[in-house]
Each structure stands twice: as structure tokens, then as C-alpha cells.
């Protein structure tokens, strides 16, 4: 089936559970695909104890990610919430409370919605960075086929109070690389990823917030990250 994801035409095999996940992205067209997912590459034999559908989901996402690198974009392990025209990305290791935090955005700020709960695609288009919904949005499958300008990226830590600070480029670099897939990348693709990260560091403010799972954390993050409040980078 042909889909339009992150403003790219993607050919995806209909196998397993992918068709339902992709239904919001399917298109009727004869366009030549920018990205082709190949189901003959799915590593069923390497994971004999895993469900076929799980392998198809993971590996199709991995193929999309690698080819997205070739096109100058990347995916960041984060939950992306859209509010008032901008995307706010909350990143960090699994279990750090990213989805909990963006869920609170939706309950605290009217109109906020999660556009990708696991790995939003990031692309710089005409000088502006956008975060995109994709079918690969993790366990919750929360995603919207849309894009939003990225206001900022914030790495979360569990804390005893809500406190946010801007990260230095070096701290931001280490955190971003740690939250993007690097398994079995070729040297060319690794360099594409690093080049993308370098551009992100130049354009997008990166923060770290220790926080509680409460409404005040949302207001703290939003207050610091909203574009009107951005000071000198």
C-alpha cells in the first residue's frame, strides 16, 4: 500500500498489523515512492519467540528511519504534543514519564494533542523544523497524520520539584544521540544522522526538566519552551 508519511511517499507491505496502523496515511496515487519498505528483509528467524506482527512493526519502522536518514531527516525517541501551532517534544529513556507528561498537556491545555507518542519524524523543510505523526508511535498507537513546527525538545527526569533549564550544546548532543536509533547503521547513515543532529542543535532549543507528574510541570515546560518566551539561543 502507498502512504504519505512526513511528506514522503512510502511503499509499505500490507502484512500483519500494519494496514490498520497506516489507515490514516494511505493514499491513492501512482507516485514513485521516496521510501520503500521491503518485507523480505523482516528478520523473523532472528526472533523466533516474537510475534510476527511485532517484528513487522519494528522492522518496518527501522527501515523507514534509515531511509529517512538518507533524505536528511531523523526520528527522535520522544512523545510529541502539539499545542497552539507548535510541537513540543519530550524525550528520555523508556519509563521516564514522557507519555504521562504529554498526556497531562492534553488534560491541562485545551486543544493540545499528541501527534506521535514514540518516535516522531523530524525534517527541516524550507528552513523550519517540523515534527510529524507516523504509524510508528509505540504501544499506545497515539498519532495524528499531521505536522507541527518544533518549538523545542525537552529531556525529562523524575524529580521532587518542577525545574527546567536550557542544556548546553554538548549536553543536548549527548542526550539526542542517546535517544535515536543507532543499531547497525552504516557509516554513511551514521554521518547523515550526526549531520541532522548538528543542524537540530543550531536551530532548536533543548532543555532538561526534572519534574513531577502534575499540571504544574506542564505549565513549567510550556512557559519555558513556548516560542514567544524564547530568549537568545
Amino acid at each position: 500500500m502507498l502512504c504519505r508519511i512526513a511528506e514522503l511517499t512510502v511503499e509499505i507491505p500490507t502484512a500483519g498489523g500494519l494496514a490498520p496502523r497506516c489507515k490514516d496515511y494511505m493514499i491513492n496515487s501512482a507516485d514513485i515512492p521516496d521510501i520503500i519498505i521491503d518485507d523480505s528483509l523482516y528478520p523473523y528467524d532472528s526472533f523466533p519467540d516474537r510475534l510476527r506482527e511485532a517484528i513487522e512493526y519494528t522492522h518496518s519502522g527501522l527501515q523507514f528511519y534509515r531511509q529517512l536518514l538518507d533524505l536528511g531527516g531523523m526520528m527522535l525517541h520522544s512523545s510529541a504534543v502539539e499545542y497552539d501551532g507548535y510541537a513540543y517534544l519530550f524525550s528520555g529513556p523508556s519509563g521516564m514519564g514522557k507519555s504521562t507528561h504529554t498526556g497531562l498537556w492534553c488534560r491541562t491545555l485545551e486543544g493540545a494533542r499528541v501527534i506521535n507518542d514514540d518516535k516522531p519524524a523530524l525534517r527541516k523543510m524550507n528552513g523550519i523544523w517540523y515534527a510529524y505523526g507516523t504509524p510508528w508511535s509505540g504501544k499506545s498507537s497515539l498519532n495524528v497524520n499531521t505536522k507541527a513546527k518544533v518549538a523545542g525538545i525537552c529531556f525529562l527526569e523524575r524529580g521532587t520539584e518542577n525545574k527546567i533549564r536550557r542544556l548546553s550544546k554538548k549536553e543536548a548532543l549527548i542526550n539526542i544521540i542517546a535517544q535515536t536509533t543507532r543499531k547497525k547503521l552504516t557509516e554513511i547513515r551514521m554521518d547523515s544522522m550526526l549531520s541532522c543532529v548538528e543542524r537540530i542543535l543550531e536551530d532548536i532549543p533543548v532543555f532538561e526538566m526534572e519534574c513531577l507528574p502534575d499540571e504544574n510541570a506542564v505549565l513549567t515546560a510550556y512557559g519555558a519552551m513556548r516560542p514567544e518566551n524564547q530568549g537568545e539561543k
Binding site: 554538548k170 544521540i177 543507532r182 547497525k184 552504516t186 551514521m190 550526526l194 548538528e198 543550531e202
Partner: protein, 89 residues
């Protein structure tokens, strides 16, 4: 000693990062950062050399004692040993 060819050094925004490639990522999915001194030592090691060469590399470049240089080299080598990217010539 030299660096295993599955590890590369890249400079990004004033920081040097060491990253594994290909299959090396299966054993180690992290990265380490180096400063300018570390990147100098890395470049020497890439071609293959002994610890003495690394110490001399520092002495050539910086105004430090041999003792200090030797200690710095040891710290650097331990960083690399931790990610298992050193091998014998």
C-alpha cells in the same frame, strides 16, 4: 595498540564523539565524548602505536610533565577499554 575499525570519531559542535558502527552497536549502544586532547590521542591510535607514542604526542603539543602526560594517557585509554574498542596491532 590500535582502535577497532568499527569505532569512529566525529566532531560535532565543539565536541568529539566516539560511536560504534554496524555490528559493534549490538554489544555497545552508547557513545563516549572526548575533548580536543582526547581527539589528538585518538588520531594517533587510529594508525596504531604504543603508549609511549601517545605520551610523546601530548608532550609535543602541551606544556606538561611526563608524569602528567602519562596519567592523562592512562585515563584516556581506560575510557576506550571501557567500550572495548582497543585492539592489539
Amino acid at each position: 595498540m590500535k582502535i577497532n575499525e568499527n569505532f569512529v570519531l566525529r566532531q560535532i559542535a565543539d565536541t568529539w564523539v566516539v560511536l560504534p558502527l554496524g555490528d559493534a552497536t549490538l554489544d555497545f549502544n552508547g557513545m563516549i565524548t572526548l575533548n580536543e586532547t582526547g581527539s589528538l590521542l585518538w588520531n594517533l591510535l587510529e594508525k596504531g602505536c604504543e603508549k609511549a607514542d601517545l605520551v610523546n604526542g601530548l608532550l609535543d603539543e602541551y606544556d606538561v610533565t611526563e608524569e602528567q602526560a602519562s596519567a592523562d594517557v592512562e585515563v584516556f585509554l581506560n575510557k576506550l577499554r571501557n567500550i572495548d574498542c582497543l585492539e592489539d596491532l
